[in-house]
Symmetry: C2
Subunit: 167 residues, 2 copies
DNA sequence: GCTTTGGTACTCGGATATCAACTGTCCGAGTTTTCCCGG
DNA sequence: CCGGGAAAACTCGGACAGTTGATATCCGAGTACCAAAGC
């Protein structure tokens, strides 16, 4: 039950990309530098987000990443699923059907109660993640950012490293 | 985001131990045989459950494991925490404080909004697991077990392999 | 026949190899820019 | 001076090692039982 650290990086990157103006992009190298993480490794997750349709890419010089959707339409669940994959954390191995003197399969048409309970908990977990969008995260940062220093650091960096593209 | 397979084994074993009569115990070897899993590996998890106070052990010949609590007082969360450990799946690396031109620490007294949201989801997940007890699981099995075949297989095995102990 | 005592066999407990997944890195395909040459 | 073309450089994309945690296993410590010997 360990969540990939790439999840955190991915969410931070998406949050930052949400601060870009229309037509701006940010390269993976810039995102990695700003967050102080490995560029190559971050690239892996950015690709996953791109493949999931959350980010859009611009190739070539002056290229980079930008959001493909509105911040309010990207939830933490979307990002998590893009990085970790859609498989549930708990997978029933049907050990109730193993061991000596197994019963005929017709007795196990109903799903295992244990698996059902674990999956129910996971559904609630995902539902909770789905409730929070990137727009909410951005709003949350602004709420505790009295003098605008945190947001200022981000916009300063964007002003230095963002590239204008013809869209 | 992969949940240990030992979790499933542990829950099944606790469920089975809940079917024991007062003063009975079941050895780790018997539990492993019944579920068709590696005895040595299962033992590791049974020790964790024992260390967490969920199971009680009886050493020596005719020894084994039994529940240390009433089935209704053992939740799926208790078992999960005993096996996986109490550490949350998401761990904030505070990458917001890394990178160039870091801000003074006083700006980061408020917890990271991303970490808060992820932890909130995890709290809901755990809360859901806490709602389901082993007694509920047992009741669920009985509810779909029309002719008692599933429960019968368990009680038959217990009749063969359980040991009476002087408590 | 009863008690004691030693041995034995079985249990759990912890320390030890093996494997998969996450982490981190590298090189290749593609595209835009840009410079240079010709008109 | 302007347009076209080719080279170059920078981007993303996917394939390749290193390290940590999960999986599987083994051997050792401890205890209850049992049998045999002594009283």
């Amino acid at each position: 039950m360990k969540l990939s650290e790439g999840i955190e990086q991915a969410i931070h990157c998406v949050t930052m990309l949400a601060g870009l103006d229309e037509g701006q992009v940010l390269s993976a190298a810039a995102l990695a530098e700003y967050h102080g993480v490995s560029a190559s490794y971050l690239l892996k997750h950015l690709q996953a987000l791109s493949g999931a349709g959350i980010l859009a890419t611009m190739p070539g010089p002056k290229g980079g990443y930008r959001l493909a959707l509105a911040p309010k339409d990207v939830s933490l669940l979307d990002i998590t699923l893009a990085i970790e994959g859609p498989a549930p954390a708990f997978r029933c191995a049907e050990i109730r059907q193993r061991g000596p003197k197994p019963l005929p399969g017709r007795y196990f048409q109903a799903p295992c109660g244990i698996a059902s309970a674990m999956h129910a908990a996971e559904r609630v977990y995902r539902s909770e993640l789905a409730k929070t969008s990137i727009a909410d995260i951005v709003a949350g940062v602004h709420a505790v950012d009295d003098d605008g220093a945190i947001a200022g650091r981000g916009t300063d960096f964007i002003a230095c490293h963002a590239r204008q593209t013809g869209r």
